[in-house]
């Protein structure tokens, strides 16, 4: 072998080092030398999403944590929250992960199955900067991680000004062809509540909401299960508006003018959020202090700001640092906007009506 040849192991090593270096260089606040040597050489097993949010977590959280502590993060990226839940349930008493980041509904499911440890908030110093309502979820078993924020998505070609109210979805002239979230998503539940409020009801008086939603039936092109497909429909001029849907689903397409895709959080009624959470399974394989340190790191103001800028998730840390440039973007949410306009749905209440609402929503929009 020539001296310039790389074998597979060397190649992987080089790519790994380069990735961490690149992530660290893009985040100058993280010093390359490990500042906390307690965790040097230890391993943390992380389960996270396989989508852009999961990838961003590896770049902005895992890589910087490794650089800061010298610990190694082994990440398993699984498709969706329900797949993560199934994976942990299948593991039973022998959990394979130290920390899992997942949606609120998944955390609730795992907590009710008795698979999670209730974390000690005193061991997470950064939590003092997280507003009370975002600190914990799943009856104290989950630590608020980021906010999944839902917007109205629109075509910048056919909708000239960003909508300022959810009522725009019902405006046939403004948006003849629309999409809505699929029935099994929490976004659909939030949309039902929005429709009810627009029709004079609320979540506890939901009938007007279903009646109002039914008005949309003939204009609904699809119930968007697949974000890439939705982006494609906008690109080809088949959709004018839709939602609730998170811009975090398609950050790359939003940045690409060919898609003509816009999203807004500027509705006067506010925007709906879901608290994504970090949870610690019982009987973890790794070090407990390391798991707490990782969760604490994920709440760091700089890390939170970086995640918000990178992937359009809302920061839970009220002191999250968002750059001046990023503050100009309509997709990047600041702590101030979150404090002002974010609405967090009541997961416990939704759990009681979820099944019936899914059924009714499906019935309304069946072709």
């Amino acid at each position: 072998m020539g001296q310039h040849d790389l074998n597979r192991r060397q190649f992987i090593k080089s790519v790994g080092v380069a990735s961490v270096a690149a992530a660290t260089m893009s985040m100058p606040f993280i010093r390359a030398n490990a500042s906390d040597t307690r965790f040097q050489g230890k391993t943390l097993r992380l389960l996270t999403w396989s989508d852009d949010t999961g990838l961003a977590a590896l770049r902005n959280i895992a890589a910087t944590f490794e650089a800061k502590t010298g610990a190694k993060v082994i990440a398993d990226r699984t498709g969706s929250t329900s797949e993560m839940v199934a994976k942990l349930k299948a593991g039973g008493d022998r959990a394979q992960y130290d920390v899992i980041t997942l949606a609120g509904v998944g955390a609730e499911g795992l907590a009710s199955a008795g698979l999670l440890e209730k974390p000690d908030l005193n061991r997470i110093p950064n939590i003092v900067d997280v507003p009370e309502k975002y600190r914990t979820g799943a009856n104290g078993h989950g630590i608020g991680y980021l906010l999944w924020c839902n917007s109205l998505v629109y075509s910048t070609r056919t909708v000239k000004e960003a909508p300022t109210s959810y009522a725009a979805l019902w405006d046939k002239d403004m948006a003849p062809n629309i999409f809505l979230p699929p029935p099994n998503w929490t976004e659909a539940m939030d949309l039902i509540i929005i429709a009810a409020k627009l029709a004079g009801g609320d979540e506890h008086n939901i009938e007007p909401g279903f009646k109002k939603l039914a008005e949309l039936k003939d204009r609904v092109v699809t119930l968007g299960e697949n974000p890439n497909q939705i982006a494609e429909l906008f690109r080809t001029g088949s959709l004018d508006m839709g939602g609730l849907y998170a811009p975090a689903f398609f950050p790359n397409q939003i940045r690409d003018p060919a898609y003509g895709l816009g999203a807004t959080f500027g509705m006067k009624e506010g925007f709906y959020t879901d608290l994504m959470q970090s949870v610690m399974p019982k009987h973890r394989p790794g070090d407990t202090d390391l798991a707490y340190a990782f969760i604490n790191h994920s709440l760091d103001p700089l890390v939170q700001g970086k995640m918000a800028e990178d992937i359009y998730n809302g920061p839970v840390n009220a002191k999250a640092i968002i750059s001046a440039e990023a503050r100009k973007s309509p997709y990047i949410l600041t702590p101030e906007q979150i404090a002002d306009k974010a609405i967090m749905h009541d997961n416990a209440f939704l759990a009681t009506v979820h099944e019936e609402w899914i059924r009714r929503y499906t019935e309304i929009f069946s072709s």
Binding site: G224, T236, G237, E355, S366
Partner: protein, 290 residues
């Protein structure tokens, strides 16, 4: 004195040894089905320890009954269409003289089985989707200004179901038609029957077992279809497999999902049994007449 030779195992033992790997594989499948059955009578959160028939009772609600009927209807219509399209293809394959041409035909028919189901569904999006070739052509001709929606409805799903299951209809039909001796055709022609009459009154009736088998395979395959209604139906065509998915995520109601799965399996098996009864009787009559 005879030299001692190694003991030979009995034919029965050898047969069992031969069958063991397949039986083990089947045992795993049967065990999985039994576990699903057990979960279907469990309760949410106590799938293995609870006992309740509530999940089955829930399936009697109009919402689920409608979904079951829709599933059976689309599976049935797709089976009929697939068989109608498969008959000429199967006949051609059966009567092709050139082995090379027969192989090319077979490869073309098998193509949908070789290509991933997800890719096939995306293929339909490329052809019929809003940005698809057909819409582009109509736009180019100035006939439309905005794309026509040919997908995200029952027709779109039906098209996908027929296309993806087409080989399952062609193969048994071609096989059955190949089994019809040419001497019957010649005898009918000698007696003055036209080509169409020979096909309708000789070939088709004698191939009926293969036709019914093809229809049954397409029906069973499509009754449990998930990817096609999900992608081509735009979540607006609630076939039962999609509802099962909803029960698992986000409702995490494994008993309800299992009960829906059991009902789907039982219904499909019942229809396949009826078809087998019919085909078996027909086959025996044909064998007797030969």
């Amino acid at each position: 004195m005879r030299s001692s030779s190694p003991k030979r195992s009995s034919p029965t033992l050898r047969a069992w040894l031969f069958l063991t790997p397949s039986l083990l594989f089947l045992a795993v499948l049967i065990a999985a089905s039994l576990l699903v059955l057990r979960m279907s009578v469990g309760t949410k959160g106590a799938e293995w320890s609870g006992f309740s028939l509530a999940s089955y009772a829930q399936l009697l609600q109009p919402y689920y009954l409608k979904s079951l009927l829709l599933t059976l209807r689309l599976a049935l219509i797709s089976a009929l269409i697939a068989v109608l399209l498969a008959i000429p293809v199967g006949y051609t394959m059966a009567r092709l003289q050139s082995p090379l041409l027969r192989r090319i035909f077979l490869a073309a028919v098998l193509l949908p089985l070789l290509v991933n189901l997800l890719l096939q569904s995306y293929g339909w999006l490329v052809i019929l989707g809003p940005a698809g070739m057909l819409n582009q052509a109509l736009k180019g001709l100035g006939l439309i200004t905005r794309p026509v929606m040919m997908l995200y409805n029952e027709n779109g799903v039906l098209m996908g179901l027929v296309q993806t299951a087409f080989p399952l209809a062609v193969l048994p039909i071609a096989s059955a038609m190949r089994g019809v001796s040419r001497s019957y055709e010649e005898a009918a022609a000698t007696l003055g029957a036209s080509r169409f009459q020979v096909f309708r009154q000789v070939i088709l009736p004698m191939s009926l077992p293969g036709i019914v088998t093809g229809a049954t395979l397409v029906f069973a395959y499509n009754a449990s279809s998930f990817v096609v209604p999900l992608l081509l139906g735009g979540r607006r065509v609630p076939m039962l497999a999609v509802m099962v998915h909803d029960q698992i995520a986000p409702l995490m109601n494994w008993p309800a999902a299992s009960a829906a799965g059991v009902v789907l399996i039982v219904t499909t098996l019942a229809i396949m049994t009826l078809s087998e009864l019919f085909t078996g009787r027909r086959r025996r009559r044909l064998e007797a007449s030969q």
